[in-house]
Symmetry: C2
Amino acid sequence: MRVLVLGADGYLGWPTAMRFARLGHEVGVLDNMAKRAWELEVGARPLWPVEPLQSRVNAFAALGHGTMDVFVGDLTDYAFVSQVVREFRPDTIIHYAEQPSAPFSMMGREQCVRTQVNNVTGTLNLIWAMREHAPDAHLVKLGSMGEYGTPNIDIEEGPLPIEVKGRRDEIPFPKQPGSFYHLSKVHDSHNLTFAARTFGLRVTDLNQGIVYGTQTEETLLDRRLRTSVHYDQVFGTVLNRFCAESVSGRPLTVYGTGQQMRGFLNIRDTMQCVVLVSLNPARPGEFRVMNQFTEAFTILELAQLVQHTARQQLGLEVEIAHLENPRNELQQHYYNAKHEKLLELGLVPHHLTAETVGAMLRDFHEHRQHIDTSVLVPTVRWVRADPAPIAQG
Amino acid sequence: MRVLVLGADGYLGWPTAMRFARLGHEVGVLDNMAKRAWELEVGARPLWPVEPLQSRVNAFAALGHGTMDVFVGDLTDYAFVSQVVREFRPDTIIHYAEQPSAPFSMMGREQCVRTQVNNVTGTLNLIWAMREHAPDAHLVKLGSMGEYGTPNIDIEEGPLPIEVKGRRDEIPFPKQPGSFYHLSKVHDSHNLTFAARTFGLRVTDLNQGIVYGTQTEETLLDRRLRTSVHYDQVFGTVLNRFCAESVSGRPLTVYGTGQQMRGFLNIRDTMQCVVLVSLNPARPGEFRVMNQFTEAFTILELAQLVQHTARQQLGLEVEIAHLENPRNELQQHYYNAKHEKLLELGLVPHHLTAETVGAMLRDFHEHRQHIDTSVLVPTVRWVRADPAPIAQG
């Protein structure tokens, strides 16, 4: 199988590329390196230095794990997208190449518009390039569980069968996202639903939960193959941030009561999921939705697990702080999201055990000198605290 | 009331600006004139020559009907949007300033991306400018009934109350639009729902049916005040196109069987609706949806009405042609869309009578020498007819 990984310089993209290559597939990696600039914009840096993509590709090949084709360019540039799809002839496209942070999209007008234009245009260009040059390829698009919000009904995987006033229909599951970033993914999903129906494309939309973890099977092969792990308030996911806080002697930054319940998965399971989905593609014209997470916890449960593990395994005393919630979200809500389709394809979850958290904490502890504690506390607020006009780009 | 009309050079924008001015409101008109360029791109021209916006504003003032502030610029330019909102200080913003054609958005990648980036960015910039400079203003955003598609349940005005597995919720009405243009409006609606909830903005989303008509009370005041009426396959709405075909000796171009049912309204009722909504604004933080049409017909019923009226009133024999449907849409479907909220506000509909169609036909007949019959037949196809690659911009 020829697999093109978009956003291959990132946290999930790079380990995904390595996984497919080690499984014997022909891999192309594509990135515009924009995320590294966005990190610098907000003053964030990964847990450890991350080699340039080309260096990692070279190291991976030198270690005997196989070669990858490298494409450097921007998905918003159609001439580039079109050429890559035409020349690489992918069977599968794994699409991580979007601005991935909700707080980034809420910083102000400039970041909001940049996020939506970047994400929506990139995916539209991909749709048209596939229609033109790879109409039978399978697009595996990473979405987010955050697109759904917290409805008072079960969150389905795919359409919602309903009966209203005696009439039946299956409707696209209604989404009530909580940031301009999550909205960009909702827009993508609508565009892709239409593209599958109209152009006959094969599409799988993976609504992913919150990913945690520092290592995959492949990143552990060599230090030069590590992936970009973030712990800051803008690009860091919550469990990674809690680990950084634990080893830095900072309290765990729980937003509000912490009763918010979310779906989570280990980065190793992201690898499993995208491989399983690629080996079992959507049919031509099918827009298929899967919810990609393995367990649901409240943020407070997560904080308590980290607190407990830090004490037991590293002898660290960690406090839990309840900050005023910078987001506009329900703190107590119903939450029952289906996540069966990936299990049916063969996913064997890595559950979030004390052992897993312990391994993460030890990774963070080893690199604790690199951690910038000034970027842990949230400064991006959904609702303006003061009535004064704020600076806009 | 201070009313800012966005897209004021267009078919609906210009008569709207005149209506508010004649009612004694202070009116600002804004346009970037882009639509005139888009018309030239596809080789279309309005039924009659349309004076530049500034000339029409001057003529309107010279006739003693009041002055308007003119702002020429692009909603995708935030410095411009921000300055206009800050300086004009609108109480109400009527937002027509989007690329309005489904076929245009389906011509190819370039037009698709241009449509979505233009429409989504313009509305996002407006959200942020209102948050910064006019947080209490009321945004009246024109959407489309086409956003809903043709679900097998009643189309509501606002959220859909549902009961699933014994649990109740109100969900945003699920939308299944049929073009990249309609998708851009769906994206807008999602962004605006979030903006109302998060920033406390007042928003009314008017999902408008297919507008027909050549004149309003104000355009009839003077020939220099006429609005831009289109009849071509890209920018012309269906009834206007049928009138152009009737007076040109061409068959009426019905797409497929013509059993597709749609909501329609007279341009005079668009005027009524936006005034009624502006006088009865949404509450702070409210995202309010209204379905702005007065009657539902099948396309074939419409063709037969035009055919009959042309024979009766103008002595014209008109054929009805069933073309292969260039769109990807259901031809037979359930259709029951609510449209009560505007009636409750006081809308008195102009129904589609033979008298109305006759007046339109006479307007088209008077200007039949200007009609370009080469732009009546659809050339933009949703699904590619041949398997060969097509040229993409």
